[in-house]
Amino acid sequence: MADKVGDKVGAVMVVGGGVAGIQASLDLAESGYYVYLVESSPAIGGVMAQLDKTFPTNDCSMCILSPKLVECGRHLNIKLLTLSEVADVSGTQGNFQVRVVQHPRYVDVNKCIACGLCAEKCPAKVDNGYEEGLSKRKAIYIKYAQAVPLKYAIDPAHCIYLTKGKCRACEKLCTAKAINFEDKEQESIINVGSIILSPGFDEFDPSRLVAYGYGRYPNVISSIQFERILNASGPFQGTLLRPSDQQAPKKVAWIQCAGSRDMTGNSGNAFCGNEYCSSVCCMYAIKEAVIAKEHAHHVEPTIFYMDIRAHGKDFDAYYERAKTEHGIRFIRSMVSRVAERPKTKDLVISYVDSEGKIKEEEFNLVVLSVGLTPSKEAKELAQRIGIQLDPYGFCKTNEFAPLDTTRPGIYVCGAFQGPKDIPETVVQASGAVASASALLADVSGSLTKKKDYPPELDLRNQEPRIGVFVCHCGINIGATVNVPEVKEYAKTLDGVVFAEENIYTCSQDAQEKIKKAIQENHLNRIVVASCTPRTHEPMFQETIREVGLNKYVFEMANIRDQCSWVHMHQPKEATEKAKDLLRMVVAKSRLLQPLEEPRVEVIKKGLVIGGGLTGMRAALKLADQGFDCALVEREAELGGNLRHIYHTLEGNDPQELLRKMTYQVMSHPRIQVFTKATLKNLSGYIGNFKSVISTEAGEKEFEHGVVIVAVGAKEKTPVEYLYGQDSRVITQTELEEKISRHAEEFKRYPHIAMIQCVGSRTPERPNCSRICCSVAVKNALKIKEKNPGAKVTILYRDIRTYGLAERYYTEARKQGIEFIQYELDSKPDLKIEGGRLQLKVKDRIIGEEVILQPDLVALASAIIPYENEALAKMLKVPLTADGFFLEAHMKLRPVDFATDGIFLAGLAHFPKNISESLSQADAAVARATASVAKGYVSVLPTISEVDQTVCVGCGLCEELCPFSAIRVVETEKGRKAETIAASCKGCGVCASSCPQKAITVHHFSDGQLIAQIEALNLVKEKEAA
């Protein structure tokens, strides 16, 4: 076949349309692969689409997800296969044949305009799954208001016609004739080179925890139900009410670890939870409590927990604020049961507190923080396509290849690989793309589609000839707004030479009519008065491009979403408003100019700063994709922190990994290694950077298109607990080296104590260092392995062996390792008494101070960033308050910087373990290569431009630009600002701020906006009145 090179196929299938699948699809499509995105439900979005806000930034979940949904939905190289499942996979990596079964939707997606008439009249009411059963939907439905594709579907299990053979009400009502009861299941074989699995997770079913009463007591709800209750578009429109009586609850309790960290699961009892930690519940519960408090100040949230696991970036600071600023109460406890007061439906929680006392407390609403379990669908899928699962049912992966499944060419990302939060999921999604891209690099671009358009008509010196198309949208507009009247009004407006009305302006035949009208009437500006440009503008722009018009000579008047739908009972006023809105955009359209989308050539080379594990991995992955790269390391040898890691929790050999990777890097023909080197200067922008690398041998210039920052972080040298004063006090890193190299010494240390959170989670350094708990458990187990008779005591604040690492914590307890919890205000005290170390700590369970006499003390010292300020300034990227690098968006852009072309990975971002560093390195590579994959970067034309004859070079714009996309440069006429077109996003802040008014924003120019402001004859009307 012509579209193949060798036998590799330049297409990839992504299975699962949650945030992981969406991210993977977008990255793949940008990297030159044709993508099939297979989703079992009628719309993509996954669980993230159900969430209200996201921690720790409290971003609205839908607001940040929705642009990605839309982008996915209309990407030329992403084919959405909704209501579809993978039946089986044959073939091998590079060339798989996937059998996909698509279930009938019973609605023609090419005709449905999602007006909602069908659902309004459908008589069958069903529990709304998206609202977690808190409200009803109809048997014909869209999953949620922002669903992509925004097309209705009939739920065959509940449709009256499909179950009982009578009804067809929707069919009669649908003016678009989109209902198709003849729709049948379809099967197809799809040829792809690689497969990425992102099937997500199931929520743990809380009714299995019988003692908590979920399902029996109406006011015991799951955390995901609580998300919906908080949500403005949820069952109570964002008012915090409880289900039983729809009254506002005052006392709300969260019970953590509902179905997680539950050892009873191992006994084979179906009515109990999972052994592992679900990793996200502590943070989402804190977030829910904070948001609940924001919604209703009188609410008193209480969180019952075992350990608070706030191990992510800025999470602990969020936790602290929840306690101190929002007054959320945290009770360390084990909850034994929940009982209901039958009259009030209030609930009594019985628990054992941290001092071992049995207590009871009454609440109005109880939220169970349900864990994540491997999805049932995914387990079945794994079986069908022959990939192995771990004992819990998650996808089996290796610590040093965290995104590879057991079948070559099939990769995994997201919660199917293990419980994780959104940013880690997004990181893995991009990371999996890096693996697929490396596999298929030589067939990249072979199957992607490109649309050809006729040459653009030259509109220079042409008077505007505006064509207006007014839409009835079935009856969505027409029933309220007098469309014929609006059309006639359009004809009276300056410059309008053609106006017509359509039943559905977005329909296929209307596109043909628009094209014909353009050609017959020589129209050169097009205005559509219909729905919202946010969903429909790109489609109409496509239409006009097909007859040679530039896509920027198009405008829309939103007379549906923002007019007929919201003024349904005021037809006269709505019609007047529609006319005004139209008049305003016509006024703007007279001034519209065709805009070119220039392209800037890129250099397909990369600079990687930092030669530790992350940097080496990034360089290798870049090189695998054909990028030459320079790897800059400040020390004399490569490896960074990896040089000091000797074993892992899972029992792999990091030193072997180090040797292998160092060899690969040093011998790779595409990688140039600079040791004892630093970056002295960086200039340019995405695609065209120029670096000056300073080495012992002198300075070296390097030109490249992308930058990956992987400068790592370091263990803080402790200043407390006699460190540096007594050789028996060492850090965990030193302990690990001792265990590995001098195991025989351990006979001399019958008792080893470890102190956690040394320099972390303090007022000075509020954040958690994430990995220290796992490191302590790892080293404790290793000591036990070498010297089973040794006593190990770990003094901790919260044990944070998040995710699947929880089982090693369980194992440590089983092996008799002693855990003593302490609080920040009663830190352990370490002294020397009679030549021996004496460690005092208050044991809360016995309520007394215990005195230990350890022979060796290991401190889990904080992981702190290097002095990154100078580098950050050079790259023009921000740092967090702690000094780590700050990504573009904490949730959805975890490895990007706001400045295009610069990416972030590894400990420079935040402390993380080997697996996480590898995934993040891969993600940074995928994002970096995708950004320049086409060989050029397309410059957004709706951006700012400086009139240098007016500019005085004051530099205000440079200071204000959030994207470092405008700068002051020396020109022949002195210092002048210029837009870096490849970086500008078109927000327009520079234009509205420029003291000289020297800056314009194309497509939103002062002239165009003022024309809109002044379009209506309000003053005349007023004077006449």
Partner: protein
């Protein structure tokens, strides 16, 4: 029928406009008094657009953007806040109710909130009554517009935030109060200067007449006049040489 205000509504593409669309999808009803201009970011709204809208006959203006921290362009809404804060000050100085300009945040998920914000704002403006756009008011608005387009105030808006956040080259840091006072003063001076330019545009007036027209102390008027003459913005009427000097627009 009672007074129905016309309200110009700037909506940012990513949050407020999307929130307005969601209000539509959810059929949350609100009064049909707004006329929408879509901008990519609330930070794009040039403060000078506000007096322009009143001059064009609108009774009120809304600028709706993303919630703080949610801005699609990171900090555009912070810019919008600074610009509108200052515009509020200017409006108050010429006795225009600052409430006629609403800056608020609506997320893409807040359809219900969007409709509520509009409903409440329309109600508020109904109670305030029509914008009193007479000749005098037009001159005031033109002075506001000129002030907001002027270099000095635009610098102030752009830098304001930073002046408190960062130290200047002398290691000083401005307190919020001090900055507010400084801004207040500059804004007032700019406004007076522009109002003077406005009144001498069409007629030649003496210092006394000007101070009377603007309801200002003669002393203050004279200091502004001399500055304006130095800046070359106004001059003396040559035909009136030898008499009480009258000022004209240059």
């Amino acid at each position: 029928m009672g007074f129905e205000p016309k309200i110009l509504s700037f909506l940012c593409n990513w949050c407020a406009y999307a929130g307005a669309d969601l209000a539509g999808v959810s059929r949350f009803q609100y009064p049909p008094n707004t006329r929408v201009i879509r901008v990519m970011c609330s930070g794009r709204v040039d403060p000078a657009f506000i007096p322009k809208a009143f001059l064009a006959g609108y009774d009120a203006v809304t600028v709706l953007g993303c919630h703080p921290g949610d801005c699609h362009y990171l900090t555009g809404n912070v810019q919008a806040q600074q610009k509108m804060d200052l515009t509020h000050k200017l409006l108050a100085m010429v006795q225009i109710e600052p409430e006629r300009l609403l800056l608020d945040w609506v997320s893409a998920g807040e359809g219900e909130r969007f409709s509520r914000v509009i409903r409440e704002f329309v109600e508020k403006i109904r109670n305030l009554g029509p914008f009193p756009l007479d000749q005098e008011m037009k001159r005031k608005l033109q002075a506001i517009e000129a002030s907001l387009e002027g270099e000095k105030i635009r610098w102030m808006v752009g830098k304001g935030y930073e002046l408190i956040e960062k130290e200047n080259v002398y290691g000083e840091r401005l307190s919020r109060e001090k900055l507010d006072k400084l801004i207040e003063e500059t804004v007032r001076n700019e406004l007076i200067k522009n109002r003077i330019i406005g009144v001498v545009e069409s007629q030649h007036l003496s210092a006394k007449e000007i101070s009377h027209a603007l309801n200002l102390e003669l002393k203050e008027t004279l200091s502004h006049l001399s500055l304006l003459v130095v800046e070359g913005k106004i001059g003396f009427d040559p035909s009136e040489e030898g008499k009480v000097p009258k000022y004209i627009r240059k």
